[in-house]
Symmetry: C2
Subunit: 338 residues, 2 copies
């Protein structure tokens, strides 16, 4: 700083970093090649804009030694998952990333490659961003944007008594994957083969958001949300928002073969499965007459759906019933930082 004889308007290190790693992701014309202060976007006529922000932090939401491309994918996908559950089509995203000084080119290379692959796959280009140094851990905050025809967003408050509860994919894999990541010996105790271990670890590392069925959800679901903090707690949130009650038959909750085997060996895992979080599946409340239609369209998109219970009248209570009809109650029905 200060006037000297040194030259200097060829651009800062930050500009070069952005040009190298992030400009290739800014394929939307409104991103202006990331050389402006802001991006400018049109929302199609007759459509609403859906906006969401979610952050992931090293040592909190991912492990510091996770591969950078997986970290990037997780950061984007946790947001894409919300757009999916709301029935919105991805439009683009903003990235705010804070990096400790130990992060160098190799990490950024992997990170930007992972982000680029998902931006392409999900049709969700980078609109703009902010890059800072931090004395803390890697902190990645993404804001994702989607669109849908006016007034058609699938609301958390839309569940109706008489509906069936439907979930996509399988529940609990990521939570078991996290247990396994912390305690690799558990694989042996649970009798998991290497493919099963890899599957569970992967489900924690990189979620698989259900954007392929967003349109079907808009057509068939009364209410919905993504399952990020655990099925038990998230269902309770939907019940409170919708002023309904819900009853889940635990035996109907879809489990992967790997989760089933782990649970058989260690029945106590049922808590992690139902309340552990990081599923990034969709929980939807669907009229009984439409459950089959949703399942059929989802199947075409390669997504399984499972009817796990019912919505009833009531005020916000979610019950989980075991095979013998007794209720499971959770100390901590969902993940919370506070």
């Amino acid at each position: 700083m200060g006037p000297t004889s040194q030259g200097g308007d060829s651009g800062s290190g930050e500009e070069r970093l952005i040009a190298r790693y992030f400009r290739p992701l800014a394929t939307h014309p409104g991103a202006l090649g990331l050389i402006d202060d802001a991006a400018v976007v049109r929302v199609p006529s007759g459509h609403d804009l859906v906006v969401k922000t979610d952050a992931i932090i090293g040592g909190v939401h991912f492990f510091p030694d996770d591969p950078p491309d997986a970290v990037a994918k997780k950061a984007l996908r946790v947001n894409l998952s919300d757009l999916a559950a709301k029935g919105a089509k991805p439009l683009g995203f903003l990235l705010s990333i804070a990096l400790p000084t130990v992060i160098g080119d190799e990490w950024l290379e992997g990170f930007s490659e992972g982000l680029r692959a998902d931006a392409d796959r999900f049709g969700c280009p980078l609109f703009g961003g902010d890059t800072d140094r931090t004395p803390g851990p890697v902190t990645i905050s993404i804001s994702a944007f989607g669109t849908l025809p006016h007034g058609t967003m699938v609301l958390r408050s839309g569940a109706k008594p008489g509906d069936r509860l439907v979930v996509t994919g399988s529940i609990g894999d990521a939570a078991i994957g996290l247990v396994l990541r912390r305690d690799p010996q558990a694989a042996r105790r649970w009798g998991l083969d290497p493919a099963m271990q890899e599957y569970l670890l992967r489900r924690y590392l990189v979620p698989e958001p259900r954007n392929a069925i967003a349109e079907a959800l808009r057509r068939y679901a009364h209410g919905g949300m993504d399952i990020s903090d655990g099925l038990a707690g998230d269902l309770a949130k939907m019940c409170r928002a919708s002023h309904v009650s819900a009853t889940v038959e635990v035996a109907r909750v879809p489990l992967s073969e790997a989760a089933r085997r782990a649970l058989a060996a260690e029945p106590g895992l049922v808590g992690a499965i139902l309340a552990g979080g990081d599923d990034y599946e969709v929980l939807a409340s669907v009229a009984e007459s439409e459950v089959g239609n949703l399942a059929a369209e989802a199947a075409v998109a390669g997504v399984t759906t499972t009817d796990i219970g019912t919505v009833g009248i009531g005020e916000g209570k979610a019950r989980f019933l075991g095979r013998d009809g007794t209720e499971l109650v959770f100390v901590r029905p969902s993940f919370s930082h506070f």
Copy 2:
């Protein structure tokens, strides 16, 4: 975690924190009272959406002991400043905040009060957010949204040879305020009275974005950006984006009385003033015939504007000329983290 006899679907600590501190800011109906996964917003017909994200980090962009209401205002205003420079009207914002465990209710109370005051003042309600714990410093990432009539965004690439360079307010106050914050003894050396000290410190602590003149900028400016990383570096960015050159007469750069006094006592501060950053004023490139119109409309809105130089043909070079016509050159023309 795990099934027990304990009760539990009355909501997590995170939900209670959001309800207490952030729900009062979510006055837009599309924010759905912060009880959904996402917000849903309409962009007025014939309008574009302008989106921007910027983060501030404790120990990097603000001091850990800064008052929490000031931190909140700074976090929002650094984004509002970009909307202003682009000519956009604020629509709302998303907040992603990561908090160390030492942050308690008192801090959050002050933070949410500051944020609420500015959300009201600038007509920019909270659409949604994300709250996490971090082992690092307080990290606040905001994405701000604005709207403007289609195709009217003021671009960084819009400066034209023959334009005049116009800046709002005064330049360098925040950079000097930062010097003063780190070295309170400097006030005596510079001969500043207490009001001047307070003024400069305040200019660093809480910027004053120029949203009041956004519409006038759209009407009269060919190109523009906000000055956040220092006038010298930011002007160079505008020159590169617009494929023009620029010449600033340093003596015309508007300084506050406090900055003028500090500079008189310590001429070396010229570097901090012109390249230090944190101004959050607007830099605009305006046809000579429109400079008076912009100044008149800005004055009505309570904002001063000053003509500091010219735009010429060339490829990205910004020159700063002293009184005797010699060029000032900066080692580090703008703030950069990398």
